[in-house]
């Protein structure tokens, strides 16, 4: 099962390697991990996408909680959470293909952020599935380079996590 885990941590050096080390040291997989400070500068927020059965997820969450710098761990289940990811996509765009790339970017409300006679660079944001979809359409046209941030996630509704 895919899980999106949000971890609030003290904004101190070395915390990221503690968290990452916990995953590698115990053989847990990380699909993606993104981290940056929150509106409270002493706190950083990580969004981690991982996989595993219930028992593994319980261990991941407990082990994260056990780290001294970890303030809070939330394992979001589907539906409770909104996820967004950003991708920068460099595609081959020559002659007749240029129009096709523009059309696809338009459909996905993506932005062209760099243009050359041979290529477009596109900025796309959305749920991870939407990024997957645009990539699928662009790939046959010649995908030259791709960077994805991995999702960041926030709970649905009015309730907010402090930090």
């Amino acid at each position: 099962m895919r899980h999106t885990i949000t971890v609030l941590v003290e904004n101190e050096f070395g915390v990221l390697s503690r968290v990452a080390g916990l995953f590698s040291g115990r053989g847990f997989n990380i699909d993606s991990l993104s981290v940056a400070p929150t509106n409270d500068e002493t706190i950083s927020r990580m969004t981690i996408v991982t996989r595993g059965d219930d028992q593994i997820l319980e261990q991941i969450s407990k082990q994260l909680n056990k780290l001294i710098d970890v303030i809070k761990v939330i394992d979001f289940t589907d539906g409770e959470v909104v996820e967004r990811e950003m991708a920068l996509i460099k595609v081959t765009a020559e002659d007749s293909a240029r129009a096709e790339v523009l059309r696809i970017a338009d459909i996905f409300r993506a932005k062209i952020i760099d243009v050359t006679p041979k290529s477009f660079t596109i900025e796309a944001t959305g749920a991870p599935a939407k990024i997957d979809a645009i990539l699928e359409l662009l790939r046959p046209l010649g995908l030259k380079e791709l960077v994805r941030t991995g999702p960041v996630a926030i709970g649905r509704g009015a309730k907010a996590l402090k930090g």
Partner: protein, 566 residues
């Protein structure tokens, strides 16, 4: 008042009640040692190897329940501490290890004697700190001690760059510390505790399975009260030995790989297993699928991660075991005649266990002349002080000590359980003796493990620490040899240490005394002589060379598939 960072560190240690540290100097802690030169409130013991220094601090902590402190220089000094730190981490022993570091400006430059000890020890410390500013020393040390001793205890490393030791700042020691991200659960959930009591009283075949958490959590009193009040049989892990008196008829002694027949049978057949501060280690459970197959499991532990890590649990209780057991006792006070009914209900179970005890007691075959190691351990118990502290190394002798010494008090057995670190025994005994100069401290070692840290005999002599060292000499790496005998057709690959080391001369070379026994009838006199001789003494017993530790559950087998005698 302004002080150097080095001085601030020492003042902090003093405020934490530290009176003894084990440390080894070097370039990056030379300023610290210079301060120490005139700092009279802390006794410094110089081991001959940093690994031994950390084991000694660990032995000090295990014996006293206080936080052990070790110091090492950067680079090689720091890496030498790693085995000691990992040993303490696996057994949840509270330590603060202070390492020197190259000046902050050089960190990351591959400077002379630089190593990323924070990175190296991240997976084997409870937490670690790099101090970048002299102003942070006091708070960091306060945090380090707090983290080391609270919750599930463990080692904390503080890396202190040289320039931070030299810089000066106002010294003010924080009274208390708040860590918003670290709040160990102390009290167990009251509803869960109530449930545990009713599950207990409904059981027909209960067993308590007790680990090191009962000792580090100072819960031996509550544990013994609860077990004796309800007549529940108690088995302990290696780390739990001493938490329940082994001379109590309810004691099932050790369980697991080298546990007793009756403990393993009781666990296999029980209908309720109450795990107290134990973590279902594979040396204990054998094959997980057949571990306590008929039992509901109650698991109390201060560390939530140890719950449901290896086995299914029907009732988890997160909290200090002392608190939890204490509340269970209170709740029993109010349950009236239910207790009497429970006593009657479990009578057949106690009788069944008694049957197992009669059938296969823990025993060995005595020989007429050759020395049986089990006999040495029994004699040691007989001739030693009632409150003697026994540290063991790792191997067969460790298991014989666990099986035959009969531990009755918490913190009287010091042994590396989780990591199984050879070389631990002698320095751990040294640490305990430093804490208790007037108690009898015995180190039981194999000839192999003794040679891993034998240089510490020098430290014993220099510091007048009268540890009595027992070497059970089989000229083998015995425990590995046993596996080779049983599972590898006696192909004794590299486990024979056939070398006539003269341990008596070795003792004398260090300025200690040494005695040797080669025959069974010399054992008693040798032990007596050693105990009567002041100062550190090595007793060497030339034991039956191919003696095995039995019973044994082969790795991966079920607890009731024991090899009883081979």
């Amino acid at each position: 008042m302004k002080m150097t960072g080095a001085r601030i560190l020492l003042e902090c240690l003093k405020r934490e009640g530290v009176d003894t540290v084990f440390g080894y100097p070097g370039g990056t802690v030379i300023n610290l040692y210079d301060e120490l030169f005139s700092f009279k409130d802390i006794r410094h013991i110089l081991p001959r190897h940093e690994q031994a220094g950390v084991h000694a601090a660990d032995g000090f902590a295990r014996a006293t329940g206080r936080v052990g402190v070790a110091i090492a220089t950067s680079g090689p000094g720091a890496t030498n501490t790693v085995t000691g730190i990992a040993t303490a981490y696996m057994d949840s022993i509270p330590l603060v290890v202070i390492t020197g570091q190259v000046p902050t400006a050089l960190i990351g430059n591959d400077a002379f004697q630089e190593v990323d000890i924070i990175g190296i020890t991240r997976p084997c410390t409870k937490h670690n700190f790099l101090v970048k500013d002299v102003k942070d020393i006091a708070t960091i040390i306060k945090k380090a001690f707090y983290i080391a001793r609270t919750g599930r205890p463990g080692p904390v490393l503080v890396d202190l760059p040289k320039d931070v030791q030299i810089a000066t700042a106002e010294f003010e020691y924080p009274e208390a510390i708040e860590l918003r991200s670290y709040k160990p659960t102390v009290e167990g959930h009251p509803k869960q505790i109530e449930k545990a009591v009713s599950m207990l009283l409904a059981a027909k075949k209960p067993v308590m399975y007790v680990g090191g958490g009962a000792i580090s959590g100072d819960a031996a009193g509550e544990l013994t009260a609860l077990a004796t009040r309800l007549h529940i049989p108690v088995t302990t892990t290696l780390m739990g030995l001493g938490s329940f008196p082994e001379d109590n008829p309810l004691s099932l002694k050790l369980l697991g790989m080298h546990g007793t027949y009756f403990a393993n049978m009781a666990v296999t057949n029980c209908d309720l297993l109450v795990a107290v501060g134990a973590r279902f280690d594979d040396r204990v459970t054998g094959k997980i699928a057949t571990f306590a197959p008929h039992a509901k499991i109650i698991h109390m532990d201060v560390d939530p991660t140890s719950i449901r890590k290896n086995v299914r649990v029907d009732l988890p209780i997160v909290g200090q075991v002392k608190e939890v057991l204490g509340r269970m006792l209170k709740s029993l006070d109010e349950s009236g005649d239910k207790v009497a009914a429970f006593h009657t209900a479990i009578e057949p179970w106690l009788a069944e266990i008694e049957g197992w005890k009669q059938k296969h007691p823990i025993t060995y075959k005595q020989a007429s002349t050759v020395i049986k190691p089990q006999f040495v351990i029994q004699k040691l118990r007989e001739l030693s002080d009632p409150d003697a502290i026994v540290a063991t190394d790792v191997g067969q002798h460790q298991m014989w000590t666990a099986q035959f010494f009969g531990f009755r008090e918490p913190r009287t057995l010091l042994s590396s359980g989780g990591l199984g670190t050879m070389g631990f025994g002698l320095p751990a005994a040294m640490g305990a003796q430093a804490a208790f100069p007037n108690r009898q401290v015995i180190a039981v070692c194999g000839d192999g493990g003794f040679q891993m840290n034998l240089q510490e005999v020098a430290t014993l002599v220099q510091n007048r620490l009268p540890v009595k060292i027992v070497i059970l000499n089989n000229n083998f790496l015995g425990m590995v040899r046993q596996w080779q005998e049983l599972f590898f057709d006696k192909r004794y690959s590299q486990t024979c240490m056939e070398l006539p080391i003269d341990f008596i001369k070795l003792a004398e070379a260090f300025g200690a005394k040494g005695f040797q026994a080669t025959k069974s009838d010399e054992v008693e006199a040798t032990i007596k002589k050693a105990f009567e001789t002041p100062g550190p003494v090595i007793m060497e017993f030339k034991i039956a060379r191919e003696e095995k530790v039995l019973p044994m559950v082969p790795a991966g087998a079920s607890l009731n598939e024991m090899v009883l005698n081979a």
